[in-house]
Symmetry: none
Amino acid sequence: MVLFSGIFFSVNGLNTSMADTIENPKETCHKKQEKKSPMKTVNLYDTTLRDGMQGENIFFSPEDKIKIALRLDDMAIPYIEGGWPGANPNAMRFFELVSQTQFKNSKITAFGSTRRPHTPVEKDDTLKALISCGVGTVTIFGKSWDLHVNIMEITLEENLAMIRESVAFLMDHDREVFYDAEHFYDGYLDNPEYAMKTLKSAVDGGCRTLILCDTNGGTLPHDIEKITRDVDKALQKSFQEPIALGIHAHNDCGMAVANSVTAVRCGATMVQGTINGYGERCGNADLTAVMPILRLKLQMNCCSLDNLKKLRPLSRFVSETANMTPLNSRPFVGHSAFAHKGGIHVSAVMKEARAYEHMDPVLVGNARRVLVSEQSGKSNIKYKAREMGVAIDGDSRKHHGIVSNIKELEDEGYQFDVAEGSLKILMEKLTGQFQPHFDLESFRVTIEKDKERPCYAHAMIKIRVGDTVEITAAEGDGPVSALDNALRKALTNIFPDLNAMHLVDFKVRVLEGDAGTNAKVRVIISSRDENDIFNTIGVSEDIIEASWQALADSFQYKLSLQNQPTDNLNT
Amino acid sequence: MVLFSGIFFSVNGLNTSMADTIENPKETCHKKQEKKSPMKTVNLYDTTLRDGMQGENIFFSPEDKIKIALRLDDMAIPYIEGGWPGANPNAMRFFELVSQTQFKNSKITAFGSTRRPHTPVEKDDTLKALISCGVGTVTIFGKSWDLHVNIMEITLEENLAMIRESVAFLMDHDREVFYDAEHFYDGYLDNPEYAMKTLKSAVDGGCRTLILCDTNGGTLPHDIEKITRDVDKALQKSFQEPIALGIHAHNDCGMAVANSVTAVRCGATMVQGTINGYGERCGNADLTAVMPILRLKLQMNCCSLDNLKKLRPLSRFVSETANMTPLNSRPFVGHSAFAHKGGIHVSAVMKEARAYEHMDPVLVGNARRVLVSEQSGKSNIKYKAREMGVAIDGDSRKHHGIVSNIKELEDEGYQFDVAEGSLKILMEKLTGQFQPHFDLESFRVTIEKDKERPCYAHAMIKIRVGDTVEITAAEGDGPVSALDNALRKALTNIFPDLNAMHLVDFKVRVLEGDAGTNAKVRVIISSRDENDIFNTIGVSEDIIEASWQALADSFQYKLSLQNQPTDNLNT
């Protein structure tokens, strides 16, 4: 019954599955579970903001990084690695912002290396920066593989001293210290004795959490299994105190998730990874796969079922922030991850979901797509309309029309789940309830450039409000800015309240490659007023047309809010 | 020595590693190998054209499918599953074309199901179509999971008869028959006795190759390992003749490759998968990862080292044919798979490749790339300059100047690791070697909109080439398109070669999320000529200014290539 109602709710898209009242995934996961032992705890360590940014095309501004960190904090990820202090201005700025930001659940960590060869720790810039950046938890990496020590042209003993002394220095400054054993698995395969010595040096320095790294990503699960077990056994034998192990896996063999899960099954209690698996080369272990596997398949305690439901939104938020197209086929969180194609009868899936799905999509905030039937689509719309205060009468043909209209637009590239301001206006239009607060008569935007001088953009706009016609002109940093300024100038003459509204973000995404500058673009504008942030959207082959749609919607939407509360519209 | 020369050649991009003269991967793979036993043979079974086409947005015409099949044949993939005869016209047409096509190495196979319930085999349309399509090898799937048998509302015995009789019917028609045990792992976990009975029915019907399918993709490697071993043991006990096992894995947990490799290590001798892992939901096991892992990491005989070098071109060909953007981070074959970013690495990579790479990229037809980025050091720049044929003398102060210049620009939002065209021009400018092929005098871009009519954009541009001044005008889908058309019109009058160059992608990213339409935008333009694809970049608060920078660089870069080979600049 519980399973069924979980499915039922996920079918019509309301994320209120019974699942969130159940702490035992055996009943929420379609697949039968065997493991019965009490829940093992695994600490997640997110390095999206540091190792993730090593990925090609992945760039986050310090402000982006704070936004992402706050989302991870909201999901209670224990550790969030923010960057390497001193390595670049981006990281420095980030740690400045961290000191001004309140985190409820997560610890922000700083990353760096062991001290330079033949340098006293107190004179080492990296270590000093790790202290001065002001966070309480630091992770340093050191060499495990004698091959690398030889490349550095230092003695094997000096490397051990670098590890031991660097850890001790940070411990002396009351930092929580994690030790990343770089290239550990390769090093262990080449020279296990020395690889173990490096770990012991970190423990001698005072570290109690050692992360085994498959830095080149070339190790296969059966080697991860053997080595992790051996190391765990050896460490527990050598030291009285328990030593915690972690895994840091790269995806060069497509094994990062498998290797992480394998290491956890062999004793590791920390997993380092990134959201969407972003990272250098083929990326890092994808936490959006690691989390549901540990929590739902192996019943390990790595996050609550309620937080797990934020997984898909988190994945989307990170890809939007990185401006990377979300991977449809991404396990658990991808748009296609629970999309059923030909052959399967909806009734059969309804009858026995576990026959066709390995788990309930709702548990990770995703949804089954073959079951977005007219019925569920309609109830979706009714739900949204109610939420936004748009009256939709009982006529189900009307609902049908709205659903198919929205589907058509989404096929064209509109994405209303991230632009509810435009969705509200669209629903009002489709139900004949839209009352425009202004009409466009015309605009002209001109951009001029002479020789090496920067571009100069100005706009003229003519709008009508009732019988009043306003014509204004303005300049700006580029055509959209000029258009925004001109429209704002025209409207604030009539609606002074608009002074409270400001654009806070402007995102452009090219929808289809291979069409050069004729590609369709999607513009999403975020606006803020005293109560709220709301998004509007436009799609066109012409970036100005798309920007205009989003811009006009943002003003129309703001004006439509004058007489109603705006809270929770876009949460 | 051999290893070193392999590396050396791959470094400067010539894909002529010594590796192709060596049949022993122990010496060609960076990572030390332990396994010493004689090579096990694994039969690859490609289902890109059938299961791969179940993927969202994946479509191949019958002619496309033949082209892909010929590429697979050229790589000597033993089996190529072409489709389900009778299921759709696409498959019918494909098998017509197959009968007119010469395959040197591969067998084309047809896919279908066991007979309908309560239907004599000789009257069953699916089975008849499998015979009439004319190929010698057929694969049929049947139900392994009693849950599914119940959903079909037939008896468990009827399902066994359907399997046995269908296999026997195809054997009687002298077909080579493979049996896909659908949902086998889920079925076995629920009801092992019945799951085994279904396999035995296939063997009783005459089949000697049974493929265990993880149809829902929810099974983890440790379950795959246990079940595959148990099944293998049980079958060898029950039958005198050897029964071969295969694996068909889906990627819903990101484990399809791990599960396939695990099954092979536990006795399976066939792997079913797809190129690039295309397939329903999260896809199938990606053969572009399975092949190098089996061949290079586990020294199993699944394809020759020479054929393995065709892997990256094959992956690109399939994604081009499917019109899917190639995944940069795809293991082994992705554009980023062997891309090095951090400055620390690069100097060392050139010294000792296996320290930073798990294998020689040349072995899979890929190449090492060095990315110049915020982290980059002098050695990256020197390496890049050499790669691009920009002369930089030994003066290390000059190198330092270039690095700090690039770092400043990257702080402003430039990202040269994805815009090598602009990087080359920048390095030429910084070293006084840049010779512009044209100079901008001025341009004007105007966008007009009236009421609800779409925007109309047109551009006027005036450029100087030596003493010639060209002034042209053009319109376009938006301001950038209009500007591109006008510039192209002006330049092609003087440089007809430019007709060979086309913009293929146009990416826009807003850098600072908090400045509304005054935000800085980064524009990256990808252009293609007959030899290559190259990227150029522009950054400004004005999207037109940023687009102009990238646009102008793309034309300057293309013109700078006229007198030099373009290969390997951006591959």
